[in-house]
Amino acid sequence: MLLQNTIRKIKKSFGRYFSLIVIVFIGAALFGSLQLCAPSIKNVQKKYYDDTHLMDLKITGTLGLTDQDVKSLKQLKSVNQAVGSYSKEVLDDSKTVKIHAIEDEINGFQLVEGTMPRQNDECLADASHYQVGDIIKITEPENQNDLKNKTFKVTGTIHSPLYTGTNYGSSQIGDGKLYSYLFVLKDVFQYDAYTEIYLTMNQSTEYQIYSTEYNKHVETLKKEIQQIQKKAEQRRYDELTSDLVTKLDQLKTLNNMMPNATYQENIQKLEDAIAMVGESKWYLLDRYDSVISYKILEMQYDEVQILANIIPFFFLVVVLLMTSNTMMRMITEERSEMGAMTSIGVSNLGIMRHYVIYVLTSTMLGTLLGYFFGSYVLTPLFYSCFPVEMPDLQYQFHFSLFFVLLIFISLLMLAVTIYSCNQVFRLRPAELLRPASPKSGKGIMLERISWLWNRFSFSWKITIRNIARYKKRVFMTIVGTAGCTFLILIGFGIQDSIDGVGAKQYHEILKYDNMIVLKNSITTISNELNEDLEKSIKSPLLLNQTIFQVNTTTDDMDAYVIAPEIVDHTFYQYFVLKSNHDHKTKKLSNNEVYVTTQIARRCDIEKGDKITLEDGDGNTYQVIVGDIIENYVSNYIYMTRELYEKTFETKWNGNVIVSKNKINNETKIANSLLDSGNVLSVQFSNDLLHDVNSGISGLNNVIFVLIIIASLLAISVLYNLTSINISERIREISTLKVLGYTDGEAERYIYRETIIMVIVGIIIGLIITPMIHHEIVNLLQNDETLLLEQIEYSSYIYASLLTFIFAIIMQVVTYFKLKKIDMIEALKSVE
């Protein structure tokens, strides 16, 4: 009986049942997929790393590394694997390519196509840039011959977990950008020592990547290594110098016995040779330092997770409003049936059961389908938007999340249903059997201002009074449209905040074209150097750029101190120092420094306060903040050369040059500069701009999907509201039609109301969005990147237009529904 009646209810009002399912579906799909997005992708990354035995730590040494080093590392408690290996940067034409040795136990890869190389003239190559069968001819930098082979045939293409991003970072040769990578047999390398040692930790696979446990473990490993590091560095130094030292000692002894010019010359030579060996030093590089995209991905996970926690909340609010609205309406419509049932003695609970089943089945169905759609379709879609090269997403069903969502939505729906039923049960059965007395008309306040009221035309009076009369529906419509406008606008807004950052930073704030890092610090640009530079660049400005830690209220943050050789027109042309206070450009003074926005925020300081800088050796320095400067990427502290010398009590010297490009070809500029021998690397602002943009493109795409889903929700919400509006007023509309109103005229009668409410809703949406947008942007930005807080005017226009268009489409739907209304039926029945 119960089931039959419910099924009949569903059949009778299939449209309503279906729209309940659709709305819950959209909410659940978005909530599920966004929540799953970051964890799922992280799992892929984790599995990829585990499967390929990605190193946890890489050690490089200035003098190379030996088997002895590997042996002593293997004895450390935390070390699982230690493998000595080789890599080398070479040129393929003018592009820099890194060649790695194939290792069995560590740093594996995913074979995309082809087979493993068997000979020294075969190789595996990056699947993003090479194809099986390609012949690659490489050249080593001048005077180097570390590879037995210079020509390789690609037998297989691969993805390596060392290069997950689309950008492979910087290189020491060529144009300063790493273009691609190759893997060859270990035998190809003819170094006398390893260039690096890869390490994995014990139980490394048991920790989630990026987790605190994992990072702590890496720290422990580093500490253990540091204990043997000094000894190993010395050992390598001795190993390289022992022969020389022995010879030197012999020579010295001989020379002491009988001084001789040849001896002295040779002694000098040997001493030079020993000095040439240089310092022996190890560098410990963890995944953050040496795995491309590792850090960017972590930031993106955080960002997506923040969105996943905020946005679906608003979706759920709209979804709940709409479903509860539908249920309320349904129960009101069926009051006479409920009255009939009460009068034959069915208990309240018995009646309520029908509605509870109706609601719960639709909600559960919607949640289930939505959740599956979200995790099967949307999450992979989000994944494909991430700028990474990783294996395909493995689908995982997260029971816990699903149940939390299901129970949460079901409970809320249950509460709404019970509440609505109780509203009706409060009446006596006899009252229920009578039709609900139509909501009585009432005069409104405005009518008392007769001089104004009388000015309205007849139909406007009706519209205004209707709006005042159906307060609940007006509220629902306004909240619904405001919510949709908000969701669309917040999507566009976040896109604006992200999109503009790169251009703002590198077109409006830092306006130089390139930054040249010098091999050796200099005090001024010599004529000789200038000649070299002038081949490819113009207006060079020498700077000191040093990284310091700034002590903030919570922890430390990195910031670059920028102190130019001369503060002149060129400096202000390259660095636009615009104050956050009055938005005017500022001139440097000899007493105060200028800090960028993020430093001021994190340190909670204002103009005139002091900040403390800490250098790599732990020395601290205090400076007074003269002003706070607009900036979006990285953190800078600007000061004059004089203040630099006074603060750090050291002589100023320049280590980087910024300038404008002279020729259009950046590869040529880089080659020309690197060839000169004075230059360590060149960074182009264009590349940095591209990096900023590609670093956030994943997030950007997620938001694009968000806008589409918000639009879908907007459509279903407006449809829901419109159909409820028609169902509530079917008698009224039929009366009008019988009186001789055309379909169009009858439509206009209710359409003006809806349009007014939609416009009010849109305006409210446009007003509240910037406030919430501001909060979200604050959450999304990190130490390194600040987002723009402004939403573009065009976004306001798009969001309003989209919502408005959806409203119009729904009016068209209403028109056809109105046309279909059977006026005779509507007027005959009492219900």
Partner: protein, 232 residues
């Protein structure tokens, strides 16, 4: 020539089960007549009224009103036919709850050029003091009088009333009937009243008896009673 002529009208509802609602229905009504269509519920009265009022199509047969074949009119023409020529009064009044009595009448007047002054019409139906009340503030009889005022304010050729007293007690119902009688005689509006109440039929010039979807017989009252004389 009669104002209204029904000639062999048939109405069949096609669906899962075909229902023959009206068949072989023929009658005429003259201008200014007060006609009652009498029959049990389900006999087909309302279907006839709906076809006459341009709210429903006949399956076959001819319906002529004032020389125009309304069974052949297009949907749009029917809208204007309802707007200009027809006034409706329903059992459940169907007033717009959100409009005052006066505004409900004005709503109808908006549609016609030569409509009567709404206030005058309300005065005529005895509601001059209740003009600014909303329907919920009026009794059933008063609401029905507003509905009648709304119907006649358009100066229709034809006033169609579907069980106008169905929801009213007999005393109030009698007053409503009296009002209809007066409108018909004083304003000369041809009035058709549908009812199952034989007592009401006594005031009509002509009574069309409907049984099983067709005209059973037509009775001409040479001396119709006045509404004051009838009781039920």
């Amino acid at each position: 020539m009669p104002l209204i002529e029904f000639k062999k009208v048939k109405k069949e509802y096609i669906g899962e089960i075909n229902v023959l609602a009206v068949h072989d229905c023929s009658f005429t009504i003259d201008k200014g007549e007060l006609v009652v269509i009498l029959g049990q519920s389900g006999a087909g009265k309302t279907t006839i009224l709906n076809m006459l009022g341009g709210m429903d199509y006949a399956t076959s047969g001819e319906i002529t009103v004032d020389g125009r074949r309304i069974d052949q009119m297009k949907k749009k023409e029917l809208v204007y036919y309802r707007r200009k020529d027809i006034g409706f009064v329903f059992q459940f009044y169907n007033l717009i709850p959100n409009l005052t009595a006066l505004e409900n009448v004005e709503l109808a007047c908006e549609l016609c050029d030569q409509a009567l002054e709404p206030k005058k019409v309300l005065k005529q139906v005895g509601l001059e003091k209740r003009m600014n009340n909303f329907p919920a503030q009026l009794s059933g009889g008063e609401q029905q009088r507003v509905a009648i005022a709304r119907a006649i304010a358009k100066k229709p050729k034809l006033l169609l009333c579907d069980e106008p007293t169905g929801a009213l007690d007999s005393k109030t119902g009698q007053k409503v009937i009296e009002l209809l009688e007066n409108t018909c005689h004083n304003m000369g509006i041809t009035t058709v009243v549908i009812t199952h109440n034989a007592m009401i039929a006594e005031i009509a010039n002509k009574v069309i008896h409907i049984k099983n979807g067709t005209v059973d017989h037509i009775e001409i009252n040479e001396h119709p009673k006045s509404a004051k004389e009838i009781v039920w």
